[in-house]
């Protein structure tokens, strides 16, 4: 009954890392500067927000759902929180008061984000409408609310608020530290808590999960609240990094990148299978393609074709792997 090291299983579970290493090797042979420390930092910085959203997205996908709202909810959270931290000497600021203390605003922003997700999560859980539809609707609503809140970008944000997205500790970007913390948090939730076990159970077989005493509805609300919380973290980073929040463009189509990363990372759309480490590899693969092909001066459209092929290919491989098991 002892757990033994299974080489085959290890390889099949981590084949995605081999793909990543292969890609890095290919790109760095063509362009040695790619592997420099500075470029690596740039690469991760560029993918951090999408990556954090993917850590949320994977929960939704693992429960046989999807969360198409994250880009738009990020925009809404970004403009609202940014409006609370505009510098006092800025003449065109949105609100007459402020800036409020950054830690307070950030906490409020995160809670606000989680509540948005809990709201459409409850819609999915209690009305049983398909998550694709519910989150598509919520996406339109969130984006519209952001535009109603302000019709122009919210800028001149306090340095304290920008610290997470823009700041550095000893020369090291804080955004990467936040990314690592979110990775750890996602991994902790998924493997070390009841909530995580429930996510797998609900995604694998929701009826059996209910019989086993799991509150399926609460679990779904939790999943979308977490996904939206991740979007809110992303929102603060985006606004901080850019120094402004744009209701029309902040987070635009980020949900699709998050879906792509989660999918490449082996999250099963038929539910019940996901690994945080796999999703991390998925993000990095997308990052290498984005960053590397730009360095190689590959045309934008070509880059997207490569990305498309990787997404489709990863799912084909995954399905074959799972089909063989059966």
């Amino acid at each position: 009954m002892q757990k033994t090291f299974d080489k085959k299983k290890f390889l099949s579970q981590n084949s995605i890392w081999l793909v990543l290493i292969g890609l890095i090797a290919l790109v760095s042979i063509a362009q040695p500067k790619f592997l420099s420390f500075n470029n690596m930092i740039t690469l991760i910085q560029g993918e951090a927000v999408r990556g954090i959203m993917a850590f949320g997205m994977m929960f939704a996908i693992c429960s046989r759902g999807i969360d198409l709202t994250v880009g738009a909810s990020a925009a809404l959270v970004a403009v609202v929180s940014a409006s609370l931290v505009q510098n006092a000497d800025y003449a065109n600021r949105l609100l007459s008061f402020g800036p409020l203390p950054a830690p307070l605003v950030i906490i409020v922003a995160l809670v606000f984000g989680a509540l948005i997700g809990a709201a459409y999560g409850a819609l999915i859980a209690y009305t049983k409408i398909p998550p694709f539809i519910a989150t598509l609707g919520a996406q339109l609503i969130c984006r519209a609310c952001a535009k109603i809140y302000t019709d122009r970008p919210v800028s001149k944000l306090s340095e304290a608020y920008r610290f997470l997205g823009h700041g550095k500790i000893g020369g090291f970007p804080v955004i990467i530290i936040v990314f690592i913390i979110m990775y750890a948090l996602a991994a902790f939730l998924l493997t070390q808590t009841r909530f995580g076990k429930n996510v797998f159970a609900v995604g694998g077989n929701d009826q059996a999960a209910r019989v086993a005493g799991i509150n399926v509805e609460k679990t779904l609300v939790g999943i979308y609240a977490w996904s939206s919380f991740c979007a809110a973290v992303g929102a603060i980073l985006l606004a901080g990094r850019a120094g402004s929040a744009d209701p029309a463009n902040t987070g635009l189509s980020y949900e699709l990148d998050a879906v792509a990363a989660a999918t490449i990372g082996g999250t099963s759309h038929t539910g019940g299978i996901c690994r945080v480490s796999g999703v991390l590899a998925g993000i990095l693969i997308l990052g290498v393609v984005n960053n590397g092909l730009v360095m190689l001066k590959v045309d934008d459209n070509m880059t997207n074709i490569v990305k498309g092929c990787i997404i489709i290919g990863s799912v084909v491989l995954d399905m074959r792997k799972n089909a063989r098991k059966k």
């Binding site: 009954m1 070390q192 076990k197 797998f200 694998g204 077989n205 019989v211 005493g213």
Partner: protein
């Protein structure tokens, strides 16, 4: 003469198996789950072409690559789990994949309907071809599948546990159709675990064990005991090891329980150490009663008391917290979490006990504990549960519920689709649990099982409770009589 020989040297699933089927005869395949019966059939019909070996059909060597090839050559299979297109009509399901057409690729609906009528008439089936497939009972769907096989002019029809969800009358009808098929010189390969059925309809029986061929013989030369010995390779002494144990005070009291139209005014008491059987035909409302008690189905009336205290159970979560467990009838749909490990499957109903962050070490020791105690056969506790045989999956689920330490254990068809060896183990386990003072409700459609195990039997018919029978009065005639009776049970008349 139909003659099939197959060999698979070196392959784990089937180690050089042979099978010879005669036309116009019913040939039953027997063996514990995982013995290789289904795999062999999948080889035959082209789902998994054999790695080596030969299949000779009608004197010619064949090797089907797809089920369609097999179908067209005259071999069809009726799977244990039917896969109809529920939203379309019976006729469309029947002619699926070969819908008759007229000019301009238009579907010839008229011909389709007429052909269906003719076919059903020939087989004596009372099915309307225009009915939506999803509205049929499982039995009727199966009949349609058989009709489909006949329409392909099949010479061999394989039936994988066809009776597992049929009522007794439906089984009778099925057997009549099988007799009919025999008369048409069709060979039927029949897979089942039910001894009485097998001896009723089989001409030949072949036994497999662990992917190996054990023996073939004519049914008249075999007995139940001989067959079981062949199947398990050891003696299974007692099928229903009933041990009388002292029955204690009332644990559960159900008063006028109702749940919509499925359960109407059911009342009973359950005692410590008691096994309370629930008998009835399909649709009697037994599963629904269990679901209503367990909070899986909304109660529309009635009260539930445990240890004299009224419970307000709204969800399985509440039920588990109050020491009630339900082993569901539909193992795959409502039981196992297929992709997850044995450990997760065992611990899932008991997650509250593992704290925050989860204590994985304790989870593993608890699981190992039950794997040993319940004799679960698995390579290790991280194996996905879907890789285990049905019997072992069931044992894992029993372990899951025992881990929650329930006072009341409701088991719904606990041995359905399970091989003889595991069945006996589950029976003795249930008896042992009753001996330890747990109160057990046993829902079973197998008369010998429910009569062999229970202290009392509740009989239900279409949602009403028609009788509570004491062990001393058990007889299948009496229970069947109540199972078709419309008179609700009146306690004042009997227990005085």
């Amino acid at each position: 003469m139909i003659d099939i020989v197959k060999e698979f040297p070196g392959v784990r699933a089937l180690k050089g198996v042979q099978l010879k089927v005669r036309p116009g005869k019913v040939h039953t395949l027997m063996g514990e789950n995982g013995a290789g019966k289904s795999t062999l059939m999948k080889c035959l019909i082209g789902i998994h072409p054999p790695t080596s070996g030969r299949i000779i059909f009608d004197g010619k060597e064949v090797n089907f690559k797809t089920t369609q090839e097999a179908l067209n050559s005259g071999i069809s299979m009726i799977h244990q789990e039917l896969s109809p297109v529920p939203e379309r009509s019976v006729a469309e399901n029947l002619w699926l994949g070969r819908v008759p057409t007229k000019s301009f690729f238009r579907v010839d609906h008229k011909k389709m309907r007429e052909d269906s009528y003719k076919l059903f008439e020939k087989l004596g089936l009372d099915v309307n071809p225009d009915e939506k497939m999803g509205n049929l009972t499982v039995a009727k769907m199966q009949m349609v599948e058989i009709a489909k096989a006949v329409s392909y002019d099949s010479k061999i029809i394989i039936m994988d546990e066809p009776t597992s969800s049929l009522t007794e009358t439906e089984v009778e009808h099925l057997f009549k159709i099988i007799e009919d098929l025999k008369a048409r010189n069709v060979a039927v390969i029949y897979i089942s675990h039910k001894m009485d059925e097998i001896f009723r309809i089989s001409d030949d029986i072949t036994v497999f064990r662990d992917g190996e061929y054990v023996a073939t013989d004519e049914a008249k030369n075999l007995t139940v005991d001989k067959l079981i010995t062949l199947m398990v390779g050891r003696e299974v002494t007692e099928m229903f090891p009933k041990i009388e144990c002292p029955i204690g005070e009332t644990v559960l009291k159900v008063e006028n329980l109702s749940a919509g139209k499925a359960v109407k005014n059911v009342s009973f008491e359950l005692h410590k150490g008691e096994i309370l059987g629930m008998a009835g035909l399909v649709g009697a409302g037994r599963t629904e009663t269990a679901e209503a008690i367990f909070g899986l189905r909304t109660r529309t009336g009635g009260k539930i008391y445990k240890d004299g205290k009224e419970l307000n159970i709204k969800s399985p979560e509440d039920a588990i917290a109050n020491g009630i467990a339900l082993l569901t009838e539909d193992r795959r749909g409502q039981g196992i979490l297929g992709l997850l490990s044995i450990t997760d499957n065992t611990a899932i109903a008991n997650m509250k006990e593992y704290g925050f962050p989860l204590n994985h070490g304790k989870m593993r020791t608890d699981t190992t504990d039950y794997v040993d105690k319940l004799n679960i056969k698995t390579p290790n506790i991280e194996t996905p549960i879907q890789n285990l045989s049905g019997g072992n999956q069931q044992k894992v689920l029993v372990g899951r519920w025992l881990l929650t330490n329930p006072d009341i254990l409701i088991v719904d068809e606990p041995t359905r689709g399970i091989d003889v060896g595991a069945k006996a183990e589950i029976h003795s386990l249930i008896t042992r649990l009753a001996g330890e003072g747990k109160a057990i409700i046993l829902i079973s459609s197998e008369m010998p099982e429910v009569m062999g195990m229970s202290d009392r039997i509740i009989v239900m018919h279409e949602g009403i409770m028609t009788a509570i029978v004491d062990r001393k009065d058990f007889s299948s005639e009496l229970i069947l009589e109540y199972a078709t009776s419309d008179t609700p049970y009146d306690p004042s008349k009997k227990e005085g």
